[in-house]
Amino acid sequence: MPDFVLTSSMLEKSKNILVNSLINAGVRTVLLIDSAGNILVNLGQTADEIDAISLAALAAANLGATAQIAKLIGEDDFTLLFHKGKNGNINFGRIGNDLILITIFGEDVSLGLVRCRITDISESLRIIFEG
């Protein structure tokens, strides 16, 4: 896994996409991280409200563990990972080989909508970061 060099242009392009499709749809927080747990993009709720570093580390480990579980039962990977809470929901999705898109949203936004939007933007995001 090579090091990752994040440029201003990557950041700007991806932020535009994420704001237009997710934040404007009512998603509270969007985090784009790599599978080592580094945060590439952090949008929405500010860093004070959410411990983004811990969240990213746990999400990366969680998806790594999920992939292992998939292998144990003969699957390649599970494509969707979702946790539902009382006030918020969190969805994890893979982008390309090495990125994970985390979205946190309330009851006012439907999971279906979030997933559709993520599907729509996955490829553009992948191209920005992985070329």
Partner: protein
């Protein structure tokens, strides 16, 4: 896998404390956490511990200040040392940039130390990384036990068991008291940041 953020001028590196169960990895992080200024460290995340055994990992984010205009952010991780957590250990190693190998001096742990180093080498290989080319520091911990009746390994024996071919810098440590903890951290940070800088020709770093 370091992250170099050119827009925020930040470099993020991942350093993993590796070693057999109970060798003192979590103790290193706890000491650093307690000794560092809150301005320069984030929250320490310790998940899923059972008693004091790590079941998943510990994480401590640090801010090591600026080098040539780049903010150096380091994330320290520990792996669970116990043999049965092989899968978790490998997960934590993903994207590692630098390693501290902590060795336990108890004579009864002699083989465990060697197995752990082999396990590290193999896990890195699965990620297409070569231990011989990684930033790596050895820490010979629990040196206080050398003055007790408990049978312990000498530094020469530890060197012979673990570092004969690698020939890396080593530090003697008493992690519970903090001896050697920051010396280890400083050296591995230096090596790791240097490697990232060289790789990306950030000649300014």
């Amino acid at each position: 896998m370091a992250l170099i953020d050119l827009s925020k001028k930040e470099v993020h590196c991942k350093i993993v404390y590796y070693g057999a169960g109970r060798c003192g990895k979590t103790t290193n992080l706890l000491y650093i956490y307690n000794a560092m200024n809150t301005k320069n460290r984030g929250k320490m995340l310790t998940i899923d511990t059972k008693g004091d055994r790590t079941l998943f990992f510990d994480l401590l984010p640090l801010n090591l200040g600026k080098i040539s205009g780049f903010d150096i952010r380091i994330q320290l991780y520990t792996v669970p040392g116990q043999v049965m957590y092989a899968a978790t250990r490998k997960l934590v190693l993903k994207g590692v940039d630098g390693i501290v190998f902590v060795a336990d001096p108890l004579r009864v742990r002699k083989e465990r130390n060697k197995e752990s180093l082999e396990d590290l080498r193999k896990n890195l290989k699965d990620y297409h990384l070569n231990l011989d080319e990684m930033p790596l520091v050895m820490q010979y911990n629990k040196r206080d036990l050398a003055d007790t009746p408990i049978p312990t390994l000498t530094i020469a024996e530890l060197e012979d068991d673990l570092n004969k071919e690698l020939k890396r810098k080593y530090f003697e440590a008493i992690a519970i008291k903090g001896n050697g903890v920051f010396e280890t951290l400083k050296e591995i940070s230096k090596q790791t940041v240097h490697q990232v800088a060289v790789k990306h020709l950030l000649t300014t770093l």
